[in-house]
Subunit: 646 residues, 2 copies
């Protein structure tokens, strides 16, 4: 078995800390109800959704036209999936009743053969499976399957699993290499990882096999999307290149992440699942090479990926412009999905470091502090005056929006936060190793040697460097606790029951193998110094620049604190930043205050655009806030990468 | 009279130096014949033109469809104008015969009422003057008028002046505030400045009045383009905002340069002409304010303007991204037109410095050394790998093209180089002041006090700092020679007949008033040190960066000399650059060689995209070439603004 461990599932994990618990509560109490209203078009002054209405029309209960994107169904799916996770954390009768109503509606909208997609049922009857490239049927199916698994695991109610199994059975019939089957695959990956989840929930091996088929068939010659297109008379969208769909090569021959970033990372997540399920070392090597390409050459310091607004795509190695960073929230989320999958195969902080980076930065920036507005695009630099007029910055929003015509991101971030529990711990059954990947306070349970062992984490992470873990077990139990020592941390220290322990680390994890007794207490200190981060000098955009990071949090400057023309602020590698927690600011954040310099305005002639006279500098105090919290005050400039004053 | 002086016309100026004479010869012997072939579709593997063919169709001599842009006629007009200037410099029977043939063709294509536009004659009969906003009739008319004046002044042949006067008379009838007239104006300014030229050539005041009408009417309420549009059933192009056409406000109320950059600067050139003609101080103040906005807030160090590819437009103050600099060659040329017009009103190096800057950099980069290929877009930074994939860099070419579907730039640069003689000197009749704006070797003649006085300039400019001017006059003559001391120059020194003279300067001109005798000799030294130029710190893009300039020449680094990842090269303000002329390189250029540093590749882990470990630097030698000469070798990276190593 190449897969070493399994994530400890949400049901066995409680989050009880000062940072995430309130966000999970926000998702449960505000975001999920708010998004339900959005899906029902009850939010004033926002983009319409019609998502629920489309299902009513498909069920024959309402006469109206289909409205929305071809993948509108997936918004409801992701919402339902978030509900599943929320119920895993805390049952809620009222919410469950709404969700059960949605599931009943799905059943009524399902066709006799199991097919379930409102766009084709309502708008294109008779045309199903005729445009896999553009029309997102398998994508929507995948999200519905993920929702089904989440809801079933939370509630034990099989209905939605049965609905989606019928749909999956239909797909098993339709797709494959037999003469009567469609030898095709999806334009937007998602079904691949979803079918693996459905296989785990049901034990039906057909679903795993179908997932494998989709991954292996992709990119083979003759090129399916050409064959498919030649059979269509209607051409709804402009022809895109094969690499947009990651179908330019068979997956096993891909070495770089190309095309639409969310599609790419959903595909790679599915491929990683299959490598694990089939013990496929060759496919794992492909995933590792792709992982290196993404995270070592094409990822922002925030964990954001996909630097190109056009086609929402990857571009070339080291092309990471900050003001035009597209870095869709969904792409960040998909990177976390993939990281978590790679991590279960191999406990290497290579993966968990990225997971943490993108979680606290590129993902969290996607949602406002009040949970009611969202960024689709997450730039690392914003100069509003230029954004107002430049077409090449047209996608850069200065404020989060209430909803979107293409509303993939809001429910995606909701399901991610609701499911956060499952990213914290893994357990290696064979070696009896309990891995701690993320430092998030709360409890987790794991059956070890026949008894439920509990691990309680306490910390004020990500603001504070002290983490305490306490074991609760009726009987002493021998197992390993493996603690991630984050890549950003220098000088981690560990005590067990008050006594310092030497850290023996393997791939970034400190492993403590011993007999654990009830109330055994681990104190971990992960010194959170303010770090000045540099990019690989091949990142042309960031040459001569520094980013501020403390712990997992990447910081930025905002105009609200520092005035405008933030690029003119220069920070020295040696400048000291004081760390302080401001309770009243941005719902409580650590801020960094430090000395910097900027041009002395009296030292240059503002009537002159170019000069040979050097400018004088003047010392200024700058204040940096966590990147994720930007744009929660008045709109203005924002900057992550600061010029270094040498 | 607010206008102080007049340019000494081409006919009285001979260029005989090592830099421009060969370029004028290139235009005469290569570019004009090459472009004639292009206009006749005889260049293989380039965009088709059909320009001459369109005129044959309009003349009823060929049955075919109109082909090309609505402004295709202007390509022939600018070519003919260039021919006029070339003939002013040197008569050429064969070329004149071709041009006379073109003029005969224009006459045959002209309608009975004087109207002359092949697009409407061939493709839209009956629709003339119905879409002034989009269809460029007045723009094409303006270019034909400029061609007519140039050809007439060169050859003394009136035919083309008569043709265009008939056309202008027709316009005088059609446009204005009388009830039966169209109360409109052009979408693309050009006619304004052209009518002033026709007025000077013919003395017909109607043309001057019509120009004034166009400028004054522009931007008035009710908004003409709306009225015009409401009368059309056909909507060929997407609605653009009024500021795209500089019609968002009456010209006298405009304070910033908005919209399409070429349109803006042609308009401002025309407005400057009118300010001069009507002694209109208020309009001159408007022009001065616009001038300051353009040159102090919206101009690249190369003199390029219009930083936005979308709508080829100005954006906001200090928004000057280097890799996305649009800086169309035509926009640079139009800045030179405007600068020269401002300069005749007021001898201030504010204007002539800009004229020189844009000439030697942003304009000259538009044409290859062999004269056969052209840049439409002139960026200040190119990273080919990113240009290959990024839509926001789609307009950035790495190599000059042979021709364009929209081929405005090639003939524009041809006419500019052919007419260069007229930008060098001015004469103030009232004060008897002979101004030298540009240091270009050759002779010029001016009638002073009844005799022809000649000034001979000798230099190896722009490479060498020594300039010699010699007076030739049969009789001693008292007048002032006013020499521009360029803004880039510190420590200019002057000798007259070997004796050092103190420099008394006024607005950047050293004025020497005396009785000049035959063979009087002025030796001017303009020390050409290598300067490190900085931008106003509000130019966010260039904070912490330097550009290299020597004399009027802005330098750049190319990959061919310096390897890739040019952004990683850092130059210190104190680093010494040696200046050497390389005869065999790029047809002879001065290059700068100096010390810089770049990241020591052994000091960082290339597997890590982000690190807290500072990198070591290593010393490297860099070689900078003149910006105008880039992209004449193998394609690769190019960079003007270099990181400063403090």
């Amino acid at each position: 078995m190449i897969k070493h461990m399994n994530a400890i599932p949400i049901k066995n994990v409680t989050i009880d800390d000062s940072f995430w618990a309130k966000r999970q509560k926000l998702v449960r109490e505000t975001v999920i109800p708010y998004q339900w209203d959005a899906l029902n078009d009850e939010i004033l002054d926002s983009e319409p959704s019609h998502t629920v209405e489309n299902f009513r029309i498909a069920a024959g209960e309402l006469k109206a036209d289909y409205y929305g994107q071809v993948f509108q169904d997936s918004d409801l799916a992701k919402w339902l999936e978030a509900v599943g996770y929320a119920l895993s954390v805390k049952r809620d009768e009222k919410l469950e009743a709404i969700a059960d109503g949605v599931i009943d509606l799905l059943e009524r909208a399902q066709q006799d053969d199991g097919y379930l997609n409102t766009y084709f049922t309502v708008a294109k009857p008779g045309k199903k499976w005729t445009n896999l490239r553009d029309d997102h049927e398998l994508y929507c199916a995948g999200h519905l399957i993920e929702a089904a698994v989440a809801y079933y695991e939370a509630t034990g109610k099989r209905k939605i699993i049965d609905i989606m199994s019928r749909y999956a059975d239909h797909m098993v019939d339709v797709f494959g290499t037999k003469p009567e089957q469609i030898r095709g695959y999806d334009g937007h990956p998602e079904i691949e990882l979803a079918l693996v989840r459905l296989y785990h929930a049901t034990g039906n091996n057909n679903y795993l096999e179908l997932s494998r088929y989709f991954v292996e068939e992709r990119g083979q010659e003759p090129y399916f999307f050409d064959i498919e297109e030649s059979g269509r008379t209607e051409h709804r969208v402009a022809r895109r290149k094969a690499d947009y769909f990651q179908a330019h090569l068979p997956v096993r021959e891909q070495k770089t992440a190309e095309g639409h970033s969310v599609r790419a990372l959903y595909l790679f997540s599915g491929a990683t699942d299959l490598a694990a399920e089939y013990n496929d070392l060759e496919l794992l090597d492909v995933c590792k090479e792709l992982w290196k390409n993404v995270t070592r050459k094409r990822m922002y310091v925030t964990g954001g990926v996909g630097s190109n607004e056009y086609w929402e795509s990857f571009t070339v190695d080291y092309d990471l412009p900050n003001d035009r960073a597209y870095t869709e929230t969904c792409a960040s989320i998909s990177l976390m999905f993939w990281a978590s999958r790679m991590l279960q195969i191999e406990a290497d902080r290579e993966y968990s470091d990225v997971m943490e980076r993108v979680l606290y930065n590129g993902i969290l920036s996607g949602i406002s502090l009040d949970g009611k507005s969202y960024f689709y695009v997450n730039p690392l630099e914003v100069w509003p005056s230029a954004c107002d007029i430049r077409e090449d910055l047209r996608s850069v929003a200065r404020t989060r929006q209430a909803w979107f015509g293409c509303a993939c991101c809001p429910p995606n971030i909701a399901r991610l936060i609701a499911s956060l529990g499952q990213y914290i711990y893994s357990y290696n059954e064979r070696e009896l190793e309990w891995f701690v990947h993320l430092y998030i306070g709360g409890n987790a349970y794991q059956n070890i040697g026949g008894q439920q062992v509990q691990l309680t984490q306490q910390s004020n992470y990500p603001w504070d460097e002290h983490i305490t873990l306490t074991v609760s077990a009726e009987q002493p139990a021998e197992f390993t606790i493996a603690l991630r020592l984050p890549g950003w941390c220098k000088g981690a220290a560990l005590k067990i029951n008050g006594e310092a322990v030497n850290l023996a680390t393997y791939k970034g994890y400190a492993k403590i193998k011993q007999v654990w007794h009830n109330s055994d207490r681990i104190e971990l200190v992960l010194p959170m110094t303010v770090e000045k981060v540099r990019s690989n000098p091949k990142v042309r955009e960031n040459v001569g620049k520094l980013a501020l990071q403390r712990g997992p949090i990447v910081f930025c400057l905002e105009e609200a604190d520092n005035g405008d023309n933030l690029r003119d602020i220069r920070v020295s590698a040696s400048s000291e930043f004081t760390v302080s927690y401001e309770d009243g600011l941005l719902e409580g954040v650590v801020v960094l205050n430090g000395g910097a310099c900027r041009t002395d305005e009296t030292s240059y002639d503002d009537n002159s655009l170019y000069t040979t006279v050097p400018f004088d500098s003047t010392n200024v105090q700058v204040k940096a806030i966590p990147y994720y919290a930007w744009a929660n005050r008045e709109p203005g400039e924002m900057l992550v990468w600061l010029h270094e004053h040498v």
